[in-house]
């Protein structure tokens, strides 16, 4: 084989390997971290002024305006459900380690299908309509986005240290069940947040 042919063969094999590698990289999607984001904003749509006059004591019939948002970074279209729960100081919150939700009834839920990288933000406007006292415990009737809900299961001593908890639930495509949090590869992740308040007259 002449010198020219040997060189041409070496160049062809090298170029072939380089272009084959580039082609493989071009058609193979890069692995990315998959997660959801959940957040709550105050009435100015910023992380401030969560309570009227910045006072966590909420009188009856005083509207409180929050914005809840979630972003899908899962790399595919997902169903996102935000469940709101009312808790007090002693009731168990969600557990991030074992991915269990708060053992409380959902008072209201919001659901939406989100495309990849899509953010969904919606208002959460609520007020205390009525307080009922049984012994030293105060029970609330809330109005959330125009819907009146009486919560019989959760009371707080003298109306102090209530918390509204927001949990993110998704549709697990493997089991076809709605689960708390989401599955990313083999990991189970959760997202939840809480905002405290006192119910005062």
């Amino acid at each position: 084989m002449s010198e020219d042919k040997k060189r041409a063969l070496v160049v062809f094999v090298s170029a072939f390997m380089i272009f084959a590698m580039l082609a493989y990289v071009a058609v193979t999607p890069l692995p990315k971290e998959k997660f959801f984001q959940l957040y709550a904003l105050g009435e100015t749509r910023m992380a401030e002024r969560y309570y009227p006059n910045n006072n966590t004591n909420i009188p009856t019939d005083t509207p409180v305006k929050w914005y809840l948002g979630t972003t899908n970074f899962m790399g595919s279209t997902q169903l996102a459900i935000v469940r709101a729960k009312l808790g007090n100081q002693t009731l168990t919150p969600p557990n991030e380690t074992i991915a269990t939700p708060a053992p409380l009834p959902t008072i209201i839920e919001f659901s939406r299908v989100l495309q990849n990288n899509e953010t969904w933000e919606f208002p959460f406007i609520w007020k205390i309509v009525n307080t009922t006292e049984v012994g030293n415990l105060t029970y609330l009737t809330l109005n959330i986005n125009g819907l009146e809900i009486h919560i019989e299961d959760v009371g707080a001593k003298d109306g102090y240290n209530y918390r509204l908890m927001f949990e993110l639930w998704t549709l697990d495509t493997e089991t076809n069940e709605i689960i708390f949090g989401w599955k990313a590869s083999n990991d189970r992740r959760v997202a939840w947040l809480q905002l405290w308040f006192n119910a005062t007259r």
Binding site: V11, A15, T77, E174
Partner: protein, 161 residues
């Protein structure tokens, strides 16, 4: 066509076939993982319809459908979620399922052809590179030869007439 040229063409065809088979394997893997992800269980009928429609949209997305097409499906899924009329919601979900299924097949085929094209271009690009480098080297060699073939001559002095 001499035997050497024939041999080269055969090698070229074998390489192209190998790359096409690579592209095929790549596509098969994508389809398998997608179908594993959408294995559905049994829940109540209304939810089941919604989940099936969502699963079909996700399959279409995985097959490589456009963002705008998926957005249209997502908007209609959200519409169905917010409807109080169950019959209307069911009709929308059925439509989404049927349309997404068609789009998934088209997108899947398009992605497959794209992959075939990309892998088939590899030997072509390698060949072009080889020819280009070959002629560059030839040109450089001719320049070197030109220099090497130069002779030293005595500089002529201009004579006054």
């Amino acid at each position: 066509m001499n035997p050497r040229q024939r041999r080269l063409i055969i090698i070229y065809l074998v390489i192209t076939a190998f790359l096409i088979s690579l592209a095929w394997t790549n596509l098969s893997n994508t389809s398998a993982s997608t179908s594993q992800n959408i294995a559905l269980g049994t829940v109540n009928s209304e939810d089941q319809k919604f989940k099936e429609a969502l699963a079909m949209v996700r399959e279409t997305e995985a097959a490589g459908a456009d963002y705008a097409q998926i957005k249209d499906f997502v908007d209609r899924l959200n519409l169905a979620l917010n409807l109080t009329d169950e019959t209307e919601a069911t009709i929308i979900l059925d439509q989404i399922k049927a349309e997404a299924s068609q789009l998934r097949d088209a997108a899947s085929l398009r992605s497959f052809y794209n992959k075939i094209f990309v892998f088939a271009m590899v030997p072509v690009a390698a060949l072009i590179t080889t020819v280009f480098i070959h002629y560059i080297v030839k040109w450089r060699q001719s320049k070197v030869e030109q220099i090497m073939n130069m002779r030293i001559r005595e500089k002529r002095v201009a004579q006054n007439v």
